[in-house]
Amino acid sequence: MARSVPVPKVLVAVVAVLLVAVGAALAADAPRKGGVLRVGNLGEPPALDAHWTTASITETLTNHIYEGLYSLDSGNRPTPMLAEGVTVSKDGLVYTFKLRQGVKFHNGKEMTSEDVVASLARWGRQAVPGKALFAQVAEFKGLDKYTVELRLKDKSAIVLISLAVPNNFGAIYPKEIAEKFPPEQKVTEYIGTGPFKLAEWKPDQYIRMVRFDEYKSRNEKPNGYGGGKTAYVDEIRWVPVPEVATRVAQVETGELDFADDLNLDAYDRLKKNPNARAIVSKPYYWLVAVMNKKEGLMTNQKLRQAWQAAIDIEPIMKNVAGGKTEFYRMDSSLAPVEVAAWHTKLAGLPWNEHNKDKAKRLLQEAGYKREPIRFMTTQEYKWMYDFALLTKQQLEDVGFNIDLQVVDWATLVKRRNNPKEYDAFTTGMGAFYDPTHHIYLTAGWPGWTTDEDILRLQAELARETDPRKRMALWEQQTRQFYEKVPVIRYGDLFGLRAARNTVKGFNEKTERVRFYNVWLEK
């Protein structure tokens, strides 16, 4: 008879302990429902009407309450959200969208085609991307309860991307609300289909959003801004905390779970905090000096080229980033790395040449006689002021005479619409998800880019639907940009956020924050 070998008791105990430990670790990583997520932001939104304003704080908040037909995936490409999908006719002129069924608004009503038609019609009359798209639309109507049809006047490359962009987006409201509030008037009833619904808004104190229990998520995994969305937390409490040092302190003490738009000085302190983590947010802004090409000194292309040739960008970016290499990136592409579809790596561009001789020669060719160049900036965004100051120094080294005018943001935004009031101004560009959305390449936006070649290429980009041909056009446009210099492109600046370690599931790769699919560990 064979004897069985006894398993040592110690081994059994060790295996049992390991199993328990692994189980606990897995449980700790598992999402859980509950809790109030307290988020500190820069300030108060001017509206919670996604159609009405391009303010980024509104973009962040409204993308929790509302949804559009499309959203952006992790590659920043259009992905269906409220639409099941789209069929495009062979001539490219008719887009037929099938809507998802059984999607409820926060008031219990089901979303149907009449809501979509009314909402996008309003969006098309007010929002920047909406107006651009609807300028090309011949007709937009519902075919049946769950189908809408968009007929174009001409082929267009921008239909899906326009419906997908998150800023000033085509949010779907109930028909009654979309029709009640004319486009130029802010909506003041906030009903959407998103995973959170508005519970309370106390201006300058907080905005409370609570989980929408009847939210119908897509079945896919989360993917960028799109895919499946789950509201794990019971409530998101958005707290405006204008003083940045206070926002940092409140994450450190645990009074806030998350804070956005922090000063880069706080990075080292946050890294040392055992209860919180620092998050580098990219993309954030790429820094530009926008040239006034309508009136004044900077209508002279040679002068603009001289400015571009003179500047040594790396020390400027390093200084703006507080000496921290984690917070800037040197890149000449007009689309950031994160917008992979449009990121370019072109050789031979006259970017970051820091060629003083070339700059001086161009100044001479321009006939520049040291007239003061009015360069407007603001201290309300410290990085704008910093790069303006350093630019002034570098330009004066080669013979420019820069009159640096420091004003508050409201004044800058007002003055930049008047071509008599400035020659250049500072700003930051966010991520544009399509070449046709690059606002500084349009005739209507401050700076007034009216160069025929640039506008022709933009028009071709709007019509051409073949991706390879579009990319070729975009590369041409990038070269035009560096030759005609409508704006001066500096480097990419990254932002700083902070989260308590109890905040789990946060997607660190999106440009703006989203708190669906986020949970709080107890």
Binding site: A55, Q126, N167, P242, A245
Partner: protein
């Protein structure tokens, strides 16, 4: 007293009229407008113009000023462009935090300043005198925002004793309200206590040199009785003036404290309103603040007559 009071109350009207007119013109004449701020950085000029028209901001400034006066006389402070609510409602919602902060800071300022100045005067030339005046000098020199940020760092972040920022209403949670108000009240009150301490000391020194004080000492009264019973009240009139001025200054001084400690009061409201060019709110806050300032001054004047029976108003 009655006719004096009526005359002072009547004088408030022209003062307020001048103040609100000047502020109206200033805020409208500085560059920037609310619409550009509200519509965001990518809004087009045509969008901005259309919205300005909708808000009546394209009308000539004199028309807007007349419309403003007409509304004020009806008791209507207008509608906030940014907050989508009547200005009076916005002010009402934010009055409590500011009043609580102001009163708390005043209590701190008086509780530190008056005894400090009195004790320093009573022990003139001693280590107490020098020490207390050094502390009051620090109170004058240290910027309020620096003090506030350091209070937050030490007491909230490092020690974890108190919250860093925020506000809880005393009607909702009295204990919580006190916890949230400690750091802001001390930071604002400490700055103001310095002036009160120095004035208290000067006034007490003057009174302590009077003949009746010498007589009281000669009669054998204790140092404490001489200081607090006989000298203190007579030194109070100028001190009350300073406390009155301090109260009025606290209305404005609360602005920085409210921003650093994220208190949703009138100070934070007016800063936000200026940055956003929310004209009706700026005008409303200035009107309310100016009215409060004038009434506080009147209250201080009336208090003189109570403290010093020799003072009479006709």
């Amino acid at each position: 007293m009655g006719p004096y009071l009526l005359r002072r109350l009547a004088a408030i009207v022209p003062v307020l009229a001048v103040v609100v007119t000047v502020v109206f013109l200033l805020i409208h004449l500085i560059p920037g407008d609310p619409v550009s701020v509200m519509l965001g950085p990518d809004a087009t000029p045509s969008q901005i113009e259309a919205t300005r028209k909708g808000l009546g901001l394209d009308r000539p400034i004199y028309e807007q000023l007349i419309g403003f006066y007409a509304r004020i006389l009806r008791g209507d402070l207008g509608q906030s462009y940014f907050l989508d609510r009547p200005v009076s409602q916005a002010l009402w919602e934010r009055a409590e935090p500011t009043l609580v902060l102001m009163l708390s800071a005043l209590v701190v300022a008086v509780a530190i300043g008056v005894p400090s100045g009195t004790i320093a005067a009573a022990h003139r030339g001693s280590a107490w005198d020098r020490g207390l005046m050094l502390v009051s000098l620090l109170g004058v020199c240290i910027p309020g925002f620096w003090l506030s940020l350091n209070f937050i760092y030490f007491f909230a972040v490092r020690l974890g004793w108190l919250p860093a920022a925020g506000y809880v209403s005393v009607f909702t949670d009295p204990v919580g309200a006190v916890r949230y108000m400690v750091l802001p009240a001390f930071s604002l009150g400490f700055n103001q206590s310095a002036l009160i301490a120095r004035i208290s000391r000067s006034c007490m020194l003057e009174v302590l040199q009077q003949d009746y004080i010498r007589t009281a000492r000669a009669k054998g009264l204790s140092h404490r009785a001489v200081t607090w019973v006989h000298a203190f009240r007579n030194a109070l009139v100028p001190v009350v003036t300073v406390i009155g001025i301090t109260t009025a200054v606290l209305i404005g001084g609360a602005v920085v404290t409210e921003i650093v400690f994220n208190i949703p009061g009138l100070g934070r409201l007016i800063i936000s309103a200026i940055l956003r060019r929310d004209y009706p709110v700026v005008q409303g806050v200035v009107l309310v603040t100016a009215t409060a300032y004038v009434l506080i001054n009147l209250g201080v004047d009336l208090l003189y007559a109570i403290i010093d029976p020799r003072i009479r108003y006709d």
